[in-house]
């Protein structure tokens, strides 16, 4: 394997991504977790650029860091609890069982081994050699191909996705604007339970129930 200059940004991005994931998983606050996720998303977008897929870069930044990330920031902000009530023991790696760690390790090893053993064939080498001359400048042809591919081969999927997104938007708006008065509800519920239990105990034959 030859050394290539593009390996430098790739390595930097990979390290940054992994660091961001680490920070995201171990952050003290939900918001921190989310903004580290956003940095990771942007970095993944640049990974796409390195992987010769600038259109994915655009989509990644537009949809992921522009849309999803904002949504998750909102979620984090709106559901953030008062720090007094947060059980400090459940933050971070505390309560992580050995099983989980073992699963994680085994999974990583498994997948890596599987991937490496799968791509260790001649087809991979040939493909890499065939594409080694390519320079990252323009993929207009590929994007046109992509557009036709999407609309000819995946039209149903795209329409389905459109409906899915529409449903998701409408459903989430409906869910989000629904107001629930928790205290009133619970009072009513408790009152109902109380009356029901009274009714049951006052029924004939319920008092002298014999334990078998």
């Amino acid at each position: 394997m030859e050394f290539s200059l593009t390996l430098i940004p790739f390595t930097l991005l990979a390290v940054f991504i992994l660091a961001a994931i680490y920070k995201s998983l171990t952050a003290e606050k939900t918001m921190q977790s989310v903004y580290w996720l956003i940095f990771m998303l942007v970095a993944v977008g640049f990974i796409f650029l390195l992987a010769n897929s600038e259109i994915l870069f655009a989509y990644q930044l537009m949809v992921y860091s522009g849309g999803i990330a904002v949504l998750m920031l909102f979620a984090g902000l709106l559901t953030e609890q008062d720090e007094l009530f947060i059980d400090s023991s459940i933050v971070g790696f505390i309560k992580t069982s050995k099983t989980q760690v073992l699963i994680f390790i085994f999974f990583a090893i498994d997948v890596l081994a599987l991937l490496l053993s799968s791509i260790n064939g001649s087809a991979y080498e040939e493909t890499v050699l065939a594409n080694s001359e390519y320079t990252y400048t323009d993929s207009a042809h590929q994007i046109k191909l992509f557009a036709s591919y999407l609309w000819n081969g995946f039209a149903e999927v795209i329409i389905l996705l459109g409906f899915l997104l529409l449903t998701a938007i409408l459903g989430s708006v409906k869910l989000a604007i629904r107001e629930t008065d928790l205290e009133e509800l619970s009072d009513e519920y408790l009152a109902r339970i109380a009356t029901t239990s009274e009714d049951i105990s006052s029924l004939p034959g319920m008092e002298d129930e014999v334990e078998v």
């Binding site: 099983t99 999974f107 498994d110």
Partner: protein
């Protein structure tokens, strides 16, 4: 006897016009009956204020029957004019019209109407008598609370009988048969608030049901052999030797069983006297031409099934009944269907006559007389004289209806049915007396009356019969019965119309009958007289030369039915005439000369007791039906108690098996069953306790277990990829 006519080459023809007329004849009583019943429902719903006037209802019902009568006469004229020729050996064509009962696969089940001389003659007689009875009843039932219901039911009943008479196959016959049973139940139990009336209705219904079951058996056997119910088709199959007489041994027997139920033959005659609980017009209709004649009409209709006219002797050895006879020729002949019918008929005739002797109720006398006469008819048919039987059916229908109507008139004025409450009514009710006299003479069989001629034909048929075993014995029994008939007829007439008046003068004022009832009586009486003259002339003409017109009634009947009876001779009439004179003399001696002391002798009382209890037939039936049941039941009870309970259950089962197995099962229960269950439960509990740790409700834990599975699966792939294991190949 036993001259045969040619077999018709075309066994039936069709004529829609006649069939439509026949449908009209049947439909008018049905429709009027249903309308009247609907009116009754309307009355019940609206209350007494909306009661429909009797004059309208009576007129409506009677007019319906009258229209049917007129239509039937038109139909008969059309039929006889077109299809019946009495010239030479005679030529008869039969008209059939049928349609599918329901749109179903089998073509055997269909509505069918059959017009032949048998049904035509009976139809005319039936409608004539029924119309007279209707007009009579419209006056007789005056003041009844359910006047409308009465006429509705009566019309319905008559319609059912008309359908039965005209039906062309056993299936339609059966429907009409059941309708008859149902409507007769309604009529007999007409005064249902009276306990005895409702009981009588139930009894009649139940006795008839035995006949119905027999009919169903007959139908089943017939269908199994021929796959059809058509009388004519069956006859045709017999003629073409597709079927043999032996095939009809069982169906014939079962058909006669059906007739036994309906026509009150020997074992099942108990219901008929009870049926007197119904209103008198009903009794008149029931006993003269409708209900009880239906069974015998069925026999006459399916006569070919057990007595084909081709030969006098039918080989029964191939039939199902042959195994009963153990190969004996005599037994075989004795067990043959005609023989059975003849014997039962004779027994019925004798028993009915004897029972009538002791009856004190005027209607009961007539009822037993009916049984006796039905026995005569069955006797004749069994002996092979279907002509004679049918002859007697006609004459009996006429005079018996006349007698009943007269008796009804008497009851109507005396308000009692007991003859002990009558007497001396000759002055008060002259026309009734005259008509009753005519009817009684017919019933007695006084020479030159219609009963004389027909009874003589019956006796002659029995005398000359070659299929009946011991026919001479039966002949003399029948002659004796004729004497008995004369005796009770005289007694009834005398006790009613002669002697001192025994009724209560204070509140019973017997007087002349009303014009409408009188009219009906005179109409029927003149019918009897006309018949008598007709039969006399016909028979006498037959003696001196052949006459093939309808005027020679018996011969014409024989021609039309295809079976000719024997020739009348004055010698043959002597025994019966002597018996009649003797019976009359005895009765006159006892009642008119007031020698009733003879009746008090122990000898007479012994028999009188038997007769009064109807030969204990009801009790016999009770014991046959209940007795064996009770005996078997108590035997089972004893067996159950002694053997099963005490011996088997207590000793063997409980002691040996029970306690032994209980101990075993106790051990099994504790050690094996409980142990297994407990160990399963414990293991489930243990496993559940372990698995419970997985059921935390934490999403991440579930994800963890899911991923564990993924890891295991992936590990397989990885190991396989590195050729560590080889499970895919």
């Amino acid at each position: 006897m036993a001259e045969t006519t040619e077999v018709a080459t075309e066994y039936f023809t069709t004529n829609p016009e006649l069939i439509i007329w026949a449908v009209i004849v049947i439909a008018i009583p049905f429709i009027t009956g249903v309308i009247l019943m609907a009116m009754r429902v309307f009355e019940i719903k609206k209350g007494d204020d909306y009661k429909i006037s009797e004059s309208f209802t009576g007129l409506f019902g009677s007019t319906g029957l009258a229209l049917s009568w007129i239509a039937s006469i038109i139909l008969a004229f059309k039929y006889f004019g077109e299809y019946v020729s009495l010239e030479g050996h005679g030529h008869i064509e039969k008209v059939v019209g049928d349609t599918a009962f329901l749109p179903m696969k089998s073509s055997a089940f269909k509505w069918g109407l059959l017009l032949d001389p048998l049904s035509m003659i009976f139809l005319v007689a039936l409608t004539t008598i029924a119309t007279a009875i209707h007009f009579y009843a419209s006056n007789y039932m005056h003041g009844d609370s359910a006047y409308t219901r009465f006429f509705g039911t009566l019309n319905f009943f008559t319609g059912s009988m008309l359908l039965f008479v005209l039906s062309s196959n056993m299936f339609t016959s059966f429907i009409a048969w059941e309708l008859l049973g149902f409507s007769s139940y309604l009529l007999i139990g007409y005064f249902w608030p009276k306990r005895s009336a409702s009981h009588a209705g139930r009894k009649a219904f139940m006795y008839n049901k035995i006949g119905d079951v027999s009919f169903i058996f007959a139908m089943g056997f017939t269908y199994a052999r021929a796959h059809t119910f058509d009388y004519l088709t069956l006859q045709y199959m017999l003629q073409t030797h597709e079927l043999t007489m032996a095939d009809f041994a069982l169906p014939g027997l079962f058909l006669f069983g059906a007739a036994v139920g309906k026509s009150a033959q020997v074992p099942l005659l108990g219901w008929l006297p009870e049926a007197m609980e119904g209103p008198t017009p009903v009794s008149a209709l029931l006993h003269s031409s409708t209900m009880v004649k239906a069974g015998l009409y069925l026999i006459a209709r399916s006569f070919f099934t057990f007595y084909y006219t081709e030969g006098t002797h039918v080989d029964w050895t191939a039939s199902e009944i042959s195994f009963l006879t153990n190969g004996s020729e005599t037994m075989l002949a004795f067990m043959s269907t005609p023989n059975i019918i003849a014997w039962f008929g004779t027994l019925t005739a004798l028993a009915g006559g004897l029972m009538a002797l002791t009856a004190t109720d005027i209607k009961k006398v007539l009822a037993f007389s009916t049984i006796s006469q039905l026995g005569y008819i069955a006797l004749a048919i069994g002996a092979g004289g279907v002509t004679a039987g049918f002859y007697h059916i006609i004459s009996h229908a006429t005079f018996k209806s006349l007698l009943f109507l007269g008796a009804g008139a008497v009851i109507h004025s005396v308000h009692s049915q007991e003859m002990s409450d009558m007497g001396g009514l000759r002055k008060q009710m002259p026309w009734t007396f005259r008509m009753m006299l005519v009817g009684t003479l017919g019933l007695m069989g006084v020479p030159l009356m219609n009963g004389f001629w027909s009874k003589d034909a019956v006796l002659l048929a029995m005398k000359e019969s070659e299929v009946v075993v011991g026919n001479m014995f039966l002949y003399w029994v029948a002659v004796f019965t004729a004497g008995v008939t004369a005796f009770y007829s005289t007694k009834m007439l005398y006790l009613t119309f002669y002697g001192k008046a025994r009724y209560d003068d204070s509140h019973v004022k017997p007087g002349p009958t009303s014009p409408r009832m009188k009219g009906a009586l005179i109409f029927l009486g003149s019918l009897v007289i006309i018949e008598s003259i007709w039969f006399t002339i016909g028979t006498l003409k037959n003696l001196f030369g052949e006459d093939h017109s309808l005027l020679n009634f018996e011969y014409a009947l024989g021609t039309m039915l295809g079976v000719h009876g024997g020739e009348f001779a004055f010698v043959d009439a002597l025994p019966s005439t002597t018996a009649v004179l003797l019976g009359f003399g005895f009765a006159y001696f006892i009642y008119a000369k007031d020698n009733k002391a003879i009746l008090n002798s122990g000898f007479v009382q012994f028999f009188a007791n038997i007769f009064e209890n109807r030969f204990y037939l009801d009790k016999l039936i009770y014991y046959i039906s209940n007795g064996p049941t009770m005996v078997i039941g108590s035997a089972f009870k004893t067996f159950d108690k002694k053997v099963i309970d005490e011996l088997i259950i207590d000793n063997i089962v409980t002691d040996k098996i029970g306690f032994g197995s209980a101990r075993t099962s106790d051990w099994m229960d504790v050690n094996v069953v409980d142990g297994t269950v407990k160990s399963i439960a414990n293991s489930v509990s243990t496993v559940g306790g372990r698995l419970r740790l997985f059921q935390t409700g934490l999403v991440s834990n579930y994800a963890k277990y899911m991923m564990l599975g993924v890891v295991v699966i992936l590990s397989f792939f990885v190991l396989e990829n590195y050729n560590v294991i080889n499970f895919l190949n």
